[in-house]
Symmetry: C2
């Protein structure tokens, strides 16, 4: 499957970049092809690495707590951040590859796949973070049962999961916007 389009053009005709693939349209249409944060851009790689970093930190903090498995929501948080980190790592590799060979990832099928994947993984991460936050607030504030330092670690992991979702959201919105604006 050809998922990329070349960006190398003769320097004599830069305006053609914008009308490329536009058929009989006379007006050059402003495309979001080169906006930072899209797949295959430096901004996109930065977003992917941010997601990966926050998800891995959340996973690592959860791994230091021995008895997290007694609460379903915390198991779900571990699973969701694990999935998020794998997805972000895979997409970061794809983005870096696209950057290295100097091509854009603008194929409709590829962008659709990225968009759906980003939507699903970010929603799962957000849901897990919310469920875990609800339980941590219940234990800490409502019941006042934060005897040891577990609460702080849970809060750190949840904050990292929220940050991972927060950096995954622009990736989803950019992909969805790019899908709609073609």
């Amino acid at each position: 499957m050809n998922v990329s389009q070349g960006v190398v053009h003769p320097v004599e005709a830069p305006p053609r970049l914008q009308t490329e693939g536009a058929g009989n349209m006379l007006l050059p249409r402003v495309r979001m092809k080169d906006l930072q944060g899209m797949p295959g851009t430096v901004g996109g790689v930065f977003l992917r690495f941010s997601q990966l970093l926050f998800a891995v930190v959340a996973l690592s903090v959860m791994a230091t707590i021995t008895d997290f498995a007694s609460v379903t929501a915390f198991c779900y948080l571990v699973a969701a951040t694990g999935l998020q980190s794998m997805w972000s790592l895979a997409l970061a590799i794809v983005d870096i590859y696209a950057l290295l060979i100097g091509r854009h990832l603008q194929n409709y099928r590829a962008v659709s796949l990225f968009s759906v994947g980003d939507g699903v993984t970010s929603t799962l991460t957000f849901a897990a973070a919310c469920a875990s936050a609800g339980i941590t607030v219940l234990i800490g504030n409502d019941l006042g049962a934060c005897a040891n330092d577990h609460c702080t670690r849970y809060e750190t992991a949840i904050a990292m999961a929220f940050l991972s979702w927060f950096t995954a959201l622009p990736s989803f919105l950019f992909n969805f916007w790019s899908l709609a604006s073609r």
Copy 2:
């Protein structure tokens, strides 16, 4: 602010509907103007009333539980479904008004406002439903402390909040798509 565009055209020239506002473009471009689910369509009104119904049912079920206020997440659920129902009611009224006077709601500012509002309210509803679901699973499955029928009522309210989010999501995606594809 003029937030609507007329849809009444002479019957002799129906193809003009698609090229309207397209400037010098020669190809008639497929617009999502009339897709059911967009603001100002019958599908849009149906989505709004579904959101409103589910949010109001969730709110009503929570109101029958006397001691929900002891848990922060349940208070948040009540607040979020209250906000969702008010937002959906307001947008349903706007949609019905647009239908009655036979105009589309396609102004850029209006669609941006609807899109941001839908994004915020649906995210809040989803977060509240997830947090409450985490606590209900903790009480019911992990601790096995569902002595009275409160758990069933909480589960009903949470399911209704999830359904409200699920019907708010298409509204957001349609608005966002419409914003990107103009």
